[in-house]
Symmetry: C2
């Protein structure tokens, strides 16, 4: 697997740092201490290039051995950035999984096409909103879900802050919210999905999906960096017909977000990935957002494309711009900016849905 | 739960950022959009203080509600730093769990006293080394384990880079290495522990511990930030007599290490915590290392003390300094610097063990 790291310094200093990084991220000991030639040949990471940059940093391209990266997603993260994450002067800029790794992890179960089949939406971008705030009662959530469903939103997700044992428990939320969207969905050509938020240990996650699936849920929200990527990857294998909407919580800023939210989340099985879009509450630039979207949708060793979900302080007013930027194969997520309408929430939600349809018709697929 | 964040800027700008952070890390929506008074009162995080610092940053102390933090370790991380980790200008400086949270998560099963009972070591610091490099054969690992065990090392851990399906698989390592330390341990007053590295999903982790426990293993190595803290916490509950040696891989540098490796790893159940000591391959300062050690050992709502494990490029020559700095209640970890002795590994390992004993006798407990 090829990885590009950003290091401080240029020239001999950068080369020395790159060589140290290659050891740190593989055998974690001095080369002189290795007695097995096979390890030196097949296991130690290799420095392929160190290129000085205009800002005084260097980009170092390393090849990590397939043997060290292994078949487990957590192990991949460990070899990618386990120890180096503790350093202040090293960042991961880019990750290029091999065809073998891509095939091993398998990527999205459903991908964009599968999510279109689930929702019945074609010929336009998708719309998504969030059930907030945490602390609301089940009755409040059901009411909101009904409003959003009647407005024709495509996906209604839990806020990622909902815990399993919250005031409105996972099971209560699933039963109440799924009932609402089932009720409003009858007779429509498109189908609104309710995506409850998973949390807890692997056992909790499995129990939650089993319960949700039994109640008709076909998409769940999960934060891979919180639940652990190994668990995320295991869930994707265990539930091949479930859609996974990945949340970036705890993703940090030390691994470039196109590499983590784009390449790696898709590799491990995200069907759709939420990212903080430029111009909202977060500080990602348009270039970074464009790169995330490119990694989610571009060809990648035969993996399905994942749906980009720009979010983080978006508004109905920005829908035309967002659709123009990301095209039809994106799902726009607007949460708080709908709820702020309070008693005008139904109208505001319909305005969002209408804006997505109108903007999509202006833009080629 | 009280949390101190570092923000850029001072004065009104910092106050505005702190208020935004309080919303981001709780209800994730504008206050104006909240219609439920109970949510405003009991769920929204509160800004308690914003203090300007000499370097142009501010320290903001927030109180997160128990309801939002919930009973799950992953949820706690989510509310602590989920969304904010995506920002460049916010760091977590300090975390102060309440007595209720401490009691809920429970901290170390064994703690320092329990690890002393397991190893039979009293009146001195402990010694630890690592089996390296990944890629070695089981026969190589068994031979190393025999050498380290005969030298009297207290803990022999797997390198954290070992995956379950490596050339020497988890099960092969456990059988071979545990057999060696059982053989060398007969008739001694102290007992060497072999700590194999766990990896994979929650199911994998459980299978690995069950197998290891059945083969006499009483300590395991685990990286909480890779496996997911919810899983780590669940393992600690499920295996109350197992010692958990926590590795900092993927811990990053956005949450201050005394808060993450010290307070939170201990809270979630680490009996011993490896950290990169100053003067080695990493860049932690003596102050940061001192603060980590303090968090691991200081009184904390009745939780057991956890054993600090300074590591990351230490050498036998530094043993007197390390013991003088950290005292008896620490475990010194030296890996590559022993192995570099190659055919003199037995003598070098004994020199390490002797140095720890000698340095400990110079220092008050």
């Amino acid at each position: 697997m090829r990885v590009v790291y950003r290091l401080q310094g240029v020239g001999a200093e950068a080369t020395r740092r790159a060589e140290a990084l290659a050891l740190e991220q593989s055998i974690e000991m001095p080369v002189e201490a290795v007695t097995d030639d096979r390890v030196l040949r097949d296991v130690v990471a290799r420095v392929e290039a160190v290129e000085p940059q205009a800002d005084g940093t260097s980009l170092a391209r390393l090849a990590l051995s397939a043997e060290s990266v292994g078949g487990d997603a957590g192990q991949l993260m460990n070899m990618l950035f386990g120890n180096s994450s503790l350093l202040d002067d090293v960042r991961v800029v880019d990750v290029q999984p091999t065809a073998a790794l891509s095939s091993h992890f398998g990527g999205p179960n459903l991908g964009i096409d599968g999510l279109r089949r689930l929702t019945g939406v074609s010929g336009r971008a998708l719309s998504c909103t969030a059930l907030k705030p945490i602390g609301s009662t089940v009755a409040d959530l059901a009411r909101m879900t009904r409003v959003f469903g009647e407005a024709g939103l495509d996906v209604i997700k839990d806020d990622h802050g909902w815990a399993a044992d919250a005031r409105a428990s996972f099971r209560e939320r699933v039963v109440a919210c799924q009932r609402e969207i089932d009720a409003v969905g009858r007779g429509r050509s498109t189908r609104t999905l309710y995506a409850p938020a998973l949390s807890g240990s692997r056992d909790d996650l499995r129990d939650q999906i089993l319960f949700a699936e039994a109640h008709g849920v076909s998409m769940v929200l999960v934060a891979p960096m919180i639940v652990g990527v190994s668990n995320f990857s295991a869930l994707r294998r265990e539930f091949p017909s479930m859609g996974f909407l990945a949340h970036p919580a705890l993703a940090g800023n030390q691994i470039a977000s196109p590499a983590l939210l784009g390449t790696l989340f898709r590799l491990f099985g995200a069907d759709a990935v939420i990212f903080p879009n430029h111009g909202g509450r977060f500080s990602y630039t348009p270039d970074i957002c464009g790169a995330i979207v490119e990694r989610l949708r571009a060809p990648m060793h035969g993996l399905k494309a994942a749906l980009p979900v720009p979010a983080g302080g978006m508004s109905v007013e920005r829908v035309p711009e967002l659709v123009a930027e990301y095209g039809h194969d994106a799902m726009l997520l607007i949460g708080g900016s709908l709820l702020i309408a309070r008693h005008e929430l139904p109208a505001r939600s319909r305005a969002f849905v209408d804006a997505v349809a109108a903007a999509s018709s202006e833009v080629a697929a």
